[in-house]
């Protein structure tokens, strides 16, 4: 495990996505935008260990993994901007990024990386012995039928897949625990896979568990499962309604509370108690978001940086390099 490599990849991803955030907020990127900021520890701990011929099934937060896997950042940024010379000719957008060279496919359909990684692994078994595939998905996706089907299929066929559940506790505005029965690691284990639970903010933990899974898969011993916790720094997506409320209560709240109060007090409907219960649910959503924020989010990039801070010169050099790369990306795009 080379922490310098890991940090570099995480920082590259973070800075790139922060640039994306600026461009999106400027209105230069359309549609939704789900960043991976906060999950870089999970992505780096796994993707940096991949070999040529391994494949990636990515969810709606695929940018980070593609960068770390070696995609040309200029092509990627151009794609996000919808430019005709982007990675996918401006036809995909951030939720549907594809790179046949890197054997990487994304999808915006929650749960679909299960089947996708299973198929990648099936082909690997026939054509690329010793190669494997990764399925990235959130804890909310664990309730999607095709995801659970994929666990069964991958185990039955003994395929080289690593299922990686990035648990940020949220499915958009829904606290996943409220809609999830039992324990997710147990749910994967019951299919007969080895499972690991790690703190995804600590890239070292991820790396070590991933190592075991990767070795197992390469040796033809079948799939495994990792549950790695994380927090998404920008909430579910850029402009996340809950985060907006928390961050800019003065501008956002009136638009929300006025109709809410009107509806709360309207005659006809549930009892006062039920109404209060309803209100509590909403306040809880916002409250949890505030607490998540306050509780000094464990930022994986900062955590790994702390481990390297003693070697000041090297660190500065590396950071300068990464900044420079990003500056190069931006200037190459803006200069055109």
């Amino acid at each position: 495990m080379d922490l310098w490599v890991l940090y570099k990849q995480m920082l590259r991803s973070r800075l790139f996505e922060e640039a994306v955030s600026v461009l999106w907020n400027e209105g230069l990127i359309s549609g939704e935008m789900h960043l991976g900021t906060g999950e870089e520890g999970i992505i780096a701990g796994i993707v940096t260990q991949l070999q040529e011929g391994d494949s990636l099934a990515l969810d709606h937060r695929g940018t980070s993994a593609l960068l770390m896997r070696g995609i040309d950042p200029i092509l990627l940024m151009k794609e996000l901007l919808g430019l005709p010379d982007g990675l996918c000719s401006g036809r995909s957008g951030h939720m549907h990024l594809f790179s046949p060279e890197l054997l990487a496919a994304s999808s915006g359909i929650v749960g679909s990386t299960g089947p996708a990684a299973t198929g990648f692994a099936l082909a690997a078994r026939y054509l690329r012995t010793g190669k494997l595939s990764i399925s990235f998905f959130g804890e909310g996706a664990m309730n999607q039928g095709m995801m659970m089907e994929s666990f069964n299929l991958a185990v039955t066929w003994n395929l080289p897949v690593i299922f990686v559940c990035k648990d940020d506790k949220w499915s958009i505005t829904t606290h996943s625990r409220n809609i999830t029965a039992g324990n997710l690691t147990d749910r994967a284990a019951v299919f007969g896979m080895p499972t690991y639970e790690v703190d995804g903010s600590d890239v070292r933990e991820v790396w070590i568990s991933a190592r075991k899974c990767l070795n197992r898969a390469r040796a033809g011993l079948g799939p495994s499962f990792i549950l790695a916790t994380c927090s998404h720094l920008e909430g579910h997506f850029l402009g996340d309604p809950l985060l907006r409320t928390v961050r800019k209560p003065l501008s956002e709240l009136p638009g929300i509370t006025i109709p809410l109060m009107k509806s709360l007090l309207q005659s006809g409907g549930a009892s006062a108690l039920s109404r209060l219960e309803g209100l509590t649910i909403i306040l809880n959503q916002v409250g949890k978001t505030i607490r998540d924020r306050k509780r000094e989010i464990r930022d994986p990039v900062k955590i790994v940086r702390k481990l390297l801070v003693t070697e000041k010169m090297q660190l500065e050099k590396l950071e300068a390099q990464v900044f420079e790369e990003l500056a190069g990306v931006i200037s190459s795009i803006t200069s055109e």
Binding site: G90, S92, Q144, M146, A270
Partner: protein, 339 residues
């Protein structure tokens, strides 16, 4: 008369119905946030968050509807319906027929649809013609707040399954939720006339299967729905400047299809243009043509639809969806053909 936004009108109609009928419940992903105004009024027993398990909760909605509830099942984006398609195709649509008409499924499936805000091809499909292919379900696609509320009010009393599709470009609530509206400088081509407007002070039913003539005309009939109606209206102004008078029909429901209104209009104009944001082949645009032909009508025909996977880039997307320019070109060509 009040004025309301598009999704606000729908929620308001639902609220009126929920207050009168305790069997109406709402279930779907994130509905406790999306329908928070209904949550605080009707409580969490009637507004239920679901896991990301579209197949299970849509299927559950069907049998719940069969045994006394009137569920509104929400599928955030209609594109996601693939995961629950078996419930639609083989269950919701078929129970009544299988039971020899004895058992009905009074279910509303509410979903957003449509593109124009640069979200890419897995998140901007229309699919209304595709859904309407399945016998046994109705498909509703409103284009104004008043219609949206009135048709939802109707759907909630309809004894059969109804797909209620809400175009995201008309709904600033949805554009806001998806993060889009939180920015100043996005260039979404929103047809503002459809996003905000007068609604009745009390909701009454707008029957399913009744199209609305949005503008009368004599040279050309444009049949459309959803955002396409507004694009067509815009286009008709330019046509007027060229002394071409277009009649514009807003279908409002894809199925049942109000073929009478279309027939009347095309009998008069002899010229039909279908403006349909759904995929072109094997869908609504063909059905309209076929139904008129079956009735022995002879007419000039063209269509402006979406022909392939919708590209992400705003520019390419704009060219792919039925825009004013495409409608104008097609209209002119068609009218010239007739002469």
């Amino acid at each position: 008369m009040r004025k309301m936004k598009f999704s606000e009108a729908i929620d308001d109609a639902i609220a009126q119905a929920m207050a009168a009928d305790s069997r109406i419940i709402i279930l779907g992903e994130d509905v406790q946030a999306l329908r928070r105004n209904l949550l605080v009024r009707f409580g969490k027993k009637r507004v239920l968050n679901t896991p990301i398990s579209e197949a299970a909760f849509t299927g559950a909605g069907i049998t719940a509807a069969m045994t006394g509830l009137r569920p509104v099942v929400e599928i955030m984006l209609v594109d996601f319906i693939g995961t629950a398609m078996d419930a639609i195709l083989n269950h919701a649509a078929k129970v009544e027929a299988f039971s020899g008409g004895r058992w009905k499924v009074p279910l509303v499936i509410r979903a957003t649809c449509g593109g124009g805000y640069g979200d890419g091809g897995q998140h901007e499909q229309s699919l209304w013609g595709w859904l309407a292919h399945i016998p046994g379900i109705s498909v509703v696609v409103p284009s104004t707040p008043a219609d949206a509320g009135g048709l939802m009010f109707s759907a909630l009393e309809h004894p059969h399954p109804v797909f209620f599709l809400e175009h995201k470009l008309l709904s600033d609530m949805w554009l806001d939720y998806l993060g889009g509206a939180s920015r100043k400088s996005v260039d979404f081509d929103v047809p503002f006339e459809g996003t905000y407007g007068q609604v009745p002070s009390k909701w009454t039913k707008i029957p399913l299967g009744q199209a609305a003539v949005r503008k009368t005309g004599t040279n050309l009939t444009i049949v459309s729905l959803g955002v396409g109606v507004h694009r067509s209206l815009e286009c008709s102004k330019i046509l007027q400047d060229n002394n071409i008078s277009a009649e514009i029909i807003d279908l409002r429901t894809v199925s049942p299809l109000d073929i009478r209104t279309i027939h009347e209009s095309v009998s008069k104009t002899g010229c039909l243009l279908v403006v349909d944001e759904d995929y072109q082949g094997f869908g609504l645009s063909g059905e309209v043509a076929a139904t008129l032909l079956e009735r022995g009508l002879s007419f000039e025909y063209a269509r402006v639809c979406t022909s392939g996977t919708i590209p992400f880039s705003r520019k390419l997307e704009d060219e792919a969806l039925p825009n004013v320019k495409r409608i104008l070109d097609a209209s002119l060509k068609l009218v010239n053909k007739k002469v």
